[in-house]
């Protein structure tokens, strides 16, 4: 099967406009004859379902949460980018496009990224009209701040809760449609299987998480907005319930998986405090403006940080990257922290942490200024750790945060299965090998508000109105397959808990498919994951009843999928013999340890086709750069 990206012809500034004109329309009278199923209610899912319902389609929305407002978009702190150029600092759509493409280390499609920048301004308009309380100037107009990877201020924000406010905006639009009866909302439903009839996506089956029943939902198109998969690492900044099950089950039904090894490790997370920790908490990257990163010069130095004299401290970022120092980019800072800890210089109980020290800044600027800049973050830190960062240095460590990879989609956001659309973090599309800060919110809302409402019509216009009934044999088959899988999980009755196996998988991926990868380690990881998968299916224990609310069973199904996805991540990382963005292969680095891209051989999207568990076929979508010529990034 050949991958058709469907990128429109013409100059980049006109592609989306021309494409929209060429898309077929569905008349208002006919829209109400179509049923669209949306899975997930984060920024992408909520904005898509509200917008599609406003257009007149019948929309069915599923979420595994108790309320659509819980989706993990809510936890995004920093902000959302747009090319408004309100500060008059020479921003433009073209510049936002350029920064985003370069930030992704030239592994994304030019046309998609340009469109993202193009609709960014509409998103801000839409959110303001919904009542999103963005930060404002005294004159009443919108305020902007700067963010990583940009030399100007284009980030709109609502305190440290931008994701929450944007999601509540999309949630309110969705709620309005639920109230009007145009959206049927099903909470506490987890999609388990995609129903494909004659090669076309026709519906899903989902488990009712309260009763345990498998329910069927039929539609003319299915939209997955189910988020990213960084919980595959067990410890990540993602919410506890984030998972890959919906996209993974779709992948196994024929949707290709794009760039699975492109994962983002964020440098400033709170480290592990104890062995049984469940997740990691992000601390805003802005802290590195005034904090200095260091470790003791002596391995295993257990003295409290304040008793380690200046000459026995190694400010390693300042030493290794003198021109950027503590403000080195995410991938550099993350890898350096890992290296120091691996070599035995790490601090804290587990030795997996480095110091982020504000004492110099407090001496220089006074406690009051630091409090003004970072007061809420310091408070949050103290709440979690019990340490006062005004007195003792913070301890930080990198953590899995975001996944650029996801299901492959064409320019219309349709996967390789006709009728199956994938939006938001769940798709692979816009961030290449590295995502810039404040771009995830932009992409989720761009897909949901302004792209899928146009592109899905083109597909539906060519569909017949007749809806497949849920008693079709493919629904029967899918329901039975899911029931069998659940039965199998319940009947193993082994000795190991689901979390125990998940934790082990996470460690394998963190060690070998994390911040730094090499051929030998990746081969080892593949072997270890296969063995662990076998162990899971022989020795996992799921107590309770499947026809009941059973959270262990929910997790077991997700971990079963992670055990397959983890292998594909390693296979993808092993095949990509270059370093780019978040994918760092130790064999491919410059003399001074920087990522070395290979544009001649790897300027493509790796789209994996599922054949069988442990067996994938690689398809390549070449990336063509007509407007921005790929260049090397240097930070020394």
């Amino acid at each position: 099967m050949a991958l058709e990206s469907k990128i429109p012809a013409g100059p980049i500034q006109e592609k989306w406009t021309n494409h929209k004109f060429n898309l077929k329309l569905v008349s208002p009278a006919n829209k109400r004859k179509f049923e669209i199923i949306v899975v997930g209610t984060g920024l992408a899912g909520a904005s898509a379902s509200a917008s599609l319902a406003e257009l007149g389609y019948n929309v069915t929305v599923l979420t595994f949460h108790d309320s659509p407002r819980r989706a993990h978009s809510i936890a995004a702190q920093g902000g959302i980018n747009a090319a408004k150029n309100y500060p008059n600092d020479n921003d433009s759509i073209y510049r936002l496009f350029y920064d985003t493409l370069k930030g992704g280390d030239y592994r994304a499609r030019e046309a998609n990224v340009y469109r993202l920048a193009e609709v960014s301004n509409n998103i801000i308009d839409q959110c303001v009209a919904q009542g999103v309380p963005f930060a404002r100037e005294y004159g009443g107009l919108l305020d902007n701040r700067s963010f990583g990877g940009a030399q100007l201020s284009r980030t709109f924000y609502a305190r440290g809760q931008t994701g929450q406010q944007l999601l509540l905006g999309a949630y309110s639009a969705l709620s309005r449609q639920v109230g009007l009866g145009t959206v049927k909302l099903y909470t506490r439903r987890e999609m388990l299987g995609l129903v494909v009839i004659d090669g076309i996506a026709r519906g899903v089956v989902a488990r009712n998480l309260v009763t345990g029943e498998i329910e069927r939902f039929a539609g003319h198109a299915v939209v997955l907005a189910t988020g990213g998969y960084s919980r595959v690492y067990f410890l990540s900044t993602s919410a506890m319930n984030c998972n890959a099950t919906a996209i993974w089950r779709a992948h196994k039904k024929g949707a290709f998986f794009g760039n699975p090894c492109f994962t983002q490790i964020h440098p400033t997370s709170l480290p592990l405090h104890h062995e049984q920790q469940s997740k990691l908490t992000l601390m805003s990257e802005s802290l590195r403006n005034d904090g200095r990163v260091w470790v003791p010069k002596n391995k295993g130095d257990k003295r409290p940080p304040n008793q380690i004299p200046e000459e026995e401290r190694d400010y390693y970022l300042e030493r290794m990257y003198p021109s950027y120092g503590n403000l080195s980019p995410r991938d550099i800072a993350s890898r350096a922290a890992k290296r120091m800890c691996d070599e035995g210089y790490g601090v804290g109980e587990t030795g997996q942490a480095v110091y982020l020290d504000f004492s110099d800044a407090i001496k220089r600027l006074g406690k009051k200024v630091i409090e003004e800049r970072y007061g809420n973050l310091f408070q949050m830190y103290e709440m979690i750790t019990g340490d006062n960062p005004y007195e003792v240095p913070m301890k930080i460590y990198p953590a899995p945060h975001y996944t650029m990879g996801g299901l492959w989609v064409d320019y219309n956001l349709m996967s390789t299965i006709p009728g199956l659309y994938v939006i938001g973090e769940a798709n692979f599309s816009d961030h290449g090998a590295n995502r810039l800060g404040a771009s995830a919110l932009m992409q989720g809302l761009a897909d949901g508000y302004f792209i899928i409402p146009y592109t899905i019509g083109d597909y539906l216009a060519s569909q017949k109105f007749i809806l497949v009934k849920t008693d079709h044999e493919e629904f029967e088959k899918e329901e039975k397959a899911q029931k069998d899988l659940i039965k199998r999980l319940m009947s193993i009755n082994g000795k190991r808990t689901v979390d125990d196996i998940h934790r082990e998988l996470g460690k394998i991926l963190w060690d070998y498919v994390g911040m730094s990868r090499n051929e030998q380690g990746l081969k080892k990881a593949i072997q270890m994951i296969r063995e662990l998968r076998e162990e899971f299916w022989k020795n996992v224990k799921v107590p309770g009843n499947d026809m009941d609310l059973n959270q262990t069973l929910e997790r077991a199904g997700r971990v079963a999928d992670f055990l397959e996805l983890g292998e594909l991540m390693a296979i993808d990382a092993l095949h990509r013999n270059e370093s780019c963005g978040g994918h760092f292969r130790e064999e491919y680095q410059t003399e001074d340890g920087e990522a070395k891209r290979d544009d001649e051989n790897f300027a493509y999207v790796a789209a994996w086709e599922f054949k069988d568990v442990g067996n994938w076929v690689l398809h390549k979508e070449p990336l063509v750069f007509e407007y921005v010529k790929p260049s090397t990034r240097s930070y020394k």
Binding site: Y86, G131, R159, S175, Q276, D387, P543
Partner: protein, 254 residues
């Protein structure tokens, strides 16, 4: 970072289903790190129960950063536990002493029926929002963002109210199981912004009517909601809700 581990006695509400009889069950947890969060302490207990083949305690949680509003339980009689201004997931074990006995119960309110153990159904909150907690603006019809100036002071007050995470602690804390703090936060958020003004009167009336219909109690100015709100939403929002409600009634055409 303290290394003294905690041994605790937990009295946890177990209830197999909405109509089943519930009871407190006693569990002992040992060697808990004071650095563990309260929910991690429950995870440890649950993993022990799972390993023994027993059903773990059902409880809800997701972001574990205090923002999604999923978690929530009554700990020693207080929603989200003994500390001010945090959610259950932000509570850490260093605030407990070795040998403590801790009572853990679900949020209790007529409008929040128990589903299982510590999980309650808070969908009534969504129903209230669906009745009117929004600005009716379709995608694509928005004017240029800076064509709507907003007084900075109002934007800040709106943001204070919009910080509500919809966890339901206010309802659990209130002896009347009133949802006034939740409803007032949304009414305030939207009434303080110019974008919210066209629907100012209809919104408050619809939301209050829905709130009453769903079985939430009345407000009798006790203030427990404000005291237990993990986002410290102010009770002055309830005063604003009352003003908005009476204003809407006065201006009503019927």
């Amino acid at each position: 970072m303290s290394s003294v581990k905690l041994n605790l006695t937990l009295k946890v509400w177990r209830q197999a289903g909405p109509n089943a009889k519930g009871e407190f069950v006693t569990y002992y947890v040992k060697n808990i790190s004071p650095d563990a969060s309260f929910l991690e302490m429950l995870d440890i207990l649950n993993e022990e129960l799972e390993a023994k083949g027993e059903e773990p305690i059902a409880y809800e949680h997701d972001c574990r950063e205090g923002i999604c509003g999923t978690c929530g339980m009554v700990i020693n009689g207080r929603p989200h536990g003994p500390l001010q201004g945090i959610t259950t997931c932000q509570l850490h074990m260093r605030h407990f002493k070795d040998g403590d006995v801790i009572f853990i119960e679900p949020f209790r309110a007529k409008a929040f029926p128990i589903i299982k153990d510590l999980i309650v159904d808070r969908s009534a909150f969504d129903t209230i929002i669906q009745a009117g907690g929004f600005i009716s603006v379709n995608t694509g019809s928005a004017p240029e963002a800076n064509s709507i100036p907003v007084k900075k002071e109002n934007a800040e007050l709106a943001m204070d109210a919009a910080a509500c995470i919809g966890c339901g602690a206010c309802v659990a804390a209130c002896p009347n199981a009133s949802a006034m703090l939740f409803v007032s936060a949304k009414v305030s958020h939207l009434a303080l912004l110019p974008q919210g003004l066209p629907e100012r009167e209809i919104r408050v009336q619809k939301m209050v009517a829905k709130m009453d219909e769903l079985g939430f109690g009345n407000c009798s100015n006790i203030g427990a909601c404000e005291a237990e709100c993990p986002k410290e939403i102010k009770i002055t929002n309830i005063a604003r809700l009352n003003r908005e409600f009476y204003r809407a009634r006065l201006l009503s055409n019927v």
